[in-house]
Symmetry: C2
Subunit: 203 residues, 2 copies
């Protein structure tokens, strides 16, 4: 697909899902993880009373800025997503035992994926976008949770909420509001819109 | 994943996208195309003044019934999807030239994917569900359409609307309302809910 070769594109993430999404959309880019101490940032944000949406945007911005300072001529895309259920913010589960506890807490409730995307150039933020898809998890029986986690295996601990919607995770939900790309971690349609406006992609 | 072995599941379609969706959700099933004359049915439905939603449901039901009569002990899933823009119903494009004309007609407009799913047992309909996701296509330039179709190749003619949202198709849209599974052709979450209720899947 046509893409402006004079504006290199960098995705400031190690997330294979986000990389795959951009690649499937036909974009050429480099992926570089930004090495931000996310846990410390989230903790201080919560202590300062910041909202999850603000914190996701701050994290997305920080990742993009770090890489952008090293590659000032490129457009650098940062993104972040926080899972929030009631007042609780969820991190990736450390192991399958914690994954089971997370699913028990999410069962029969609505949660939100606060999703932020930021583009930087020359070290400064030039575009940002937020979205908050809502997911309704059905009431899960303890035996279902056990069999589901056994089927998914340890790998599911790399997903916040212990689910991959593009896999067995579809069996956990009764309703989903919001677009799939955003749920997977990147508000792709809005981002592509910005990249057309910035002259990276063709209209 | 746990699934009741006493109730065989059949998907009455040759669509590889729908098969992949059910397989990724962890279901065991057989896929069988139902050989319904869709073009003739759509034509007579339009002549009789039936809505696209009614027609999609009639087609989904007919496919499931046909297979269900041959395998009365199984649960048979039928599905259908019609692309409607204004008063016009779209079929798969016959070739890349027609694909370009379809995209020109969809450009800068909203269209709806009237999606129907039906489950039959013993030849009778036991469950049905309809949904109508809305997609907003951005204004496409003729040169973009040409380059997009060259990148996708002839294979895109197997997709109604000449797009695959999971591929380069994401570059065509400015907004999408409705869940991704339904857009891909199967209202998966509602169907899984019915299969739990019917005792095929575990709660």
């Amino acid at each position: 697909m046509p893409q402006n070769p004079d504006i290199p594109l960098i995705l400031a993430t190690a997330s294979s899902t986000r990389q795959a999404m951009l690649r499937q959309a036909g974009l050429s880019f480099e992926a570089m993880p930004a090495h931000v101490d996310e846990a410390a940032m989230k903790e201080s944000a919560q202590a300062e009373g910041r909202t999850a949406a603000e914190t996701a945007q701050a994290l997305a911005g920080l990742k993009a800025e770090r890489i952008s300072r090293r590659f000032p001529g490129a457009l650098v895309i940062g993104s972040d997503q926080l899972l929030v259920c009631g007042a609780e913010w969820f991190d990736k589960p450390a192991n399958l035992g914690e994954a089971a506890r997370h699913l028990e807490r999410l069962s029969n409730r609505v949660h939100v994926l606060e999703t932020a995307c930021c583009v930087c150039r020359g070290g400064s933020r030039v575009w940002q976008f937020s979205a908050a898809p809502k997911l309704v998890m059905r009431k899960l029986s303890p035996s279902f949770v056990a069999e589901y986690l056994a089927a998914e295996g340890e790998e599911i601990c790399s997903s916040v909420g212990a689910y991959r919607l593009e896999g067995l995770g579809s069996q956990l939900f009764s309703q989903i509001e919001g677009d799939f790309f955003t749920i997977l971690g990147l508000p792709l349609l809005a981002l592509l819109g910005y990249l057309r406006q910035a002259g990276v992609l063709a209209e």
